[in-house]
């Protein structure tokens, strides 16, 4: 039965032949090379037979110019199945869309894990990664490969000794080792304590080393306060340690505008909601332009999650507050008070933590083009001791 192989693939169709002596018709067909099977006599003038779909045109040609009527019944086989499928356009569209969506979703970075690093460095790595575009919501095929990310991280963050980059499906796994920057050798090397700036010593406590100065001594910058050489005959030096508090003096210049601008909220606000995927923001709720003349914007992003699994989508709420600008003229007295406060705060920021302002005098004050200018003289008690390594034997 070789002629009847692959019937399903080629597709078959059932014919009903109507006319006197229908045997003659299939005889003709067979002579033209049409393969016929399952021929049944239904009535005296009616036959049913099956043929291949590809032979249909031959049958049609034979029918033409004959007195037979040929009815076509529903066919079977792959060509019909394909046709039926191609008729289901929405189904196809849905199928393609699903495939595309699946592809996109599986190509999105869903999570980033950083391990083995202290919090501070982890944040730094995270920030750097964000700059490369590696963050939840990013599309993977637009990112560099792991080796390139690793190299870039090592180049850009000097504190990293090594970082392993691994891509596990939709997650990135970073395993870092921190570089210990402090040189242990240096901690033990001999050193003197020297003055960081000029001043008058008011109290000192030397833990290690030989004190070279006394209370109420006036020291200049760079002067040795405590020596690492305990005895003059000693060749081996120690590392001097200790605190030396001295009175230091500063001359501060500060200027403060007498006009003060204050921004206050009026209480009116509007919200906008966005769904953020990667760098793309999709507005969800809240339309139209913000019509406040002076606006303060507050943004609040939160990552969406399902079953405690974080998704690469962010819910962003922006609140716009209407602002009022208030201009106020300060009195000279107020301005001076503010200027003095500001000057002291600026100074203390620059000094070691346990510093204290003990005295302050206004040397000069003037009002010039709406500004108050002050020159202050400030006395401070601060630790002026700094360690200075000694190169031994050189």
């Amino acid at each position: 039965m070789k002629p009847l192989q692959a019937r399903f693939l080629k597709g078959t169709i059932k014919l009903v032949i109507l006319g006197p002596n229908p045997e003659l018709f299939i005889n003709n067909c067979a002579r033209q090379g049409v393969i016929i099977w399952d021929v049944r006599k239904l009535k005296d003038d009616k036959l049913s037979a099956c043929i291949y779909l590809s032979d249909l045109h031959k049958v049609k040609r034979i029918r033409k110019g004959s007195q037979y009527k040929v009815g076509l019944k529903r066919g079977q086989g792959l060509p019909y199945v394909l046709q039926a499928i191609s008729n289901q356009k929405p189904l196809w569209l849905a199928f393609l869309l699903t495939a595309f969506l699946l592809f996109m979703i599986s190509n999105i970075v869903w999570s980033i894990h950083i391990e083995g690093l202290p919090q501070e460095l982890e944040t730094k790595v995270e920030k750097q990664l964000k700059q490369y575009g590696v963050e939840p919501g990013a599309i993977t095929f637009r990112l560099d490969d792991t080796a390139a990310i690793q190299q870039k991280l090592l180049d850009d963050i000097p504190e990293l000794l090594w970082i392993g980059v691994q891509k596990k499906g939709t997650a990135y796994l970073f395993e870092g080792v921190e570089k210990t920057l402090v040189d242990k050798e240096e901690e033990k090397s001999p050193a003197h304590l020297v003055a960081a700036k000029k001043g008058m010593i008011i109290s000192m406590y030397i833990e290690k080393g030989k004190p070279m100065v006394d209370i109420h001594d006036f020291v200049k910058k760079g002067e040795i306060l405590a020596s690492g050489q305990l005895d003059e005959r000693d060749t081996k030096l120690v590392r001097a340690q200790g605190n030396v508090f001295a009175e230091t003096w500063y001359r501060l210049e500060v200027s403060v505008p007498m006009k003060e601008t204050l921004h206050t909220t009026t209480g009116n606000n509007e919200q906008r909601y966005h769904l953020r995927i990667g760098s793309f923001e999709f507005p969800v709720w809240g339309w139209g332009k913000i019509e406040y003349s002076l606006v303060k914007k507050e943004e609040d992003s939160s990552q969406l999650s399902i079953f405690s699994k974080e998704l690469p989508f962010y819910w962003k709420k922006s609140t716009y507050y209407e602002m009022n600008r208030l201009e106020k003229n300060r009195t000279k007295k107020d301005s001076i008070r503010i200027a003095r406060h500001q000057a002291k705060m600026d100074l203390l920021k620059r000094l070691p933590e346990d510093s204290k302002i003990v005295q302050e005098n206004i040397l000069h004050e003037e009002v010039d083009s709406g500004k108050v200018k002050l020159i202050l003289f400030v006395k401070v008690h601060e630790n002026i001791a700094v360690t200075k390594n000694v190169n031994q034997g050189v």
Binding site: M1, P3, L4, E23, I26, N27, A30, R31, Q32, G33, I35, I36, W37, D38, V39, R40, K41, D44, L47, A49
Partner: protein, 93 residues
């Protein structure tokens, strides 16, 4: 002339042991039990019904009688009949 040719063919079929259906252009009828009849080298279907099939051949008509005939396969010179076959007759004209 044609008769002479026929004689040569018959002689060749005999002495060269070639299958006679090929040499003599005669139909070859194969039956499997009583339900399949396979006829090769026929010259066309004359009549077909559930009880009777008549086929043309070089030497007259081949007539099958029986019940529930279905043509399982039909090619230009081959035919496979399925059904309850009761008789195969050769009618020479």
């Amino acid at each position: 002339m044609k008769k002479w040719q026929q004689q040569i063919r018959g002689w060749m079929a005999n002495y060269l042991e070639l299958p006679s259906d090929v040499m003599l252009d005669l139909p070859r009828v194969t039956t499997i039990g009583d339900f399949h009849v396979y006829i090769e080298n026929h010259n066309g279907l004359m009549h077909f019904s559930e009880q009777e099939i008549r086929l043309k051949s070089r030497k007259g008509i081949i007539k099958l009688t029986g019940e529930g005939f279905v043509l399982k396969l039909m090619l230009s010179e081959e035919i496979l009949v399925e059904g309850n076959v009761q008789a195969v007759q050769f009618i020479t004209d």
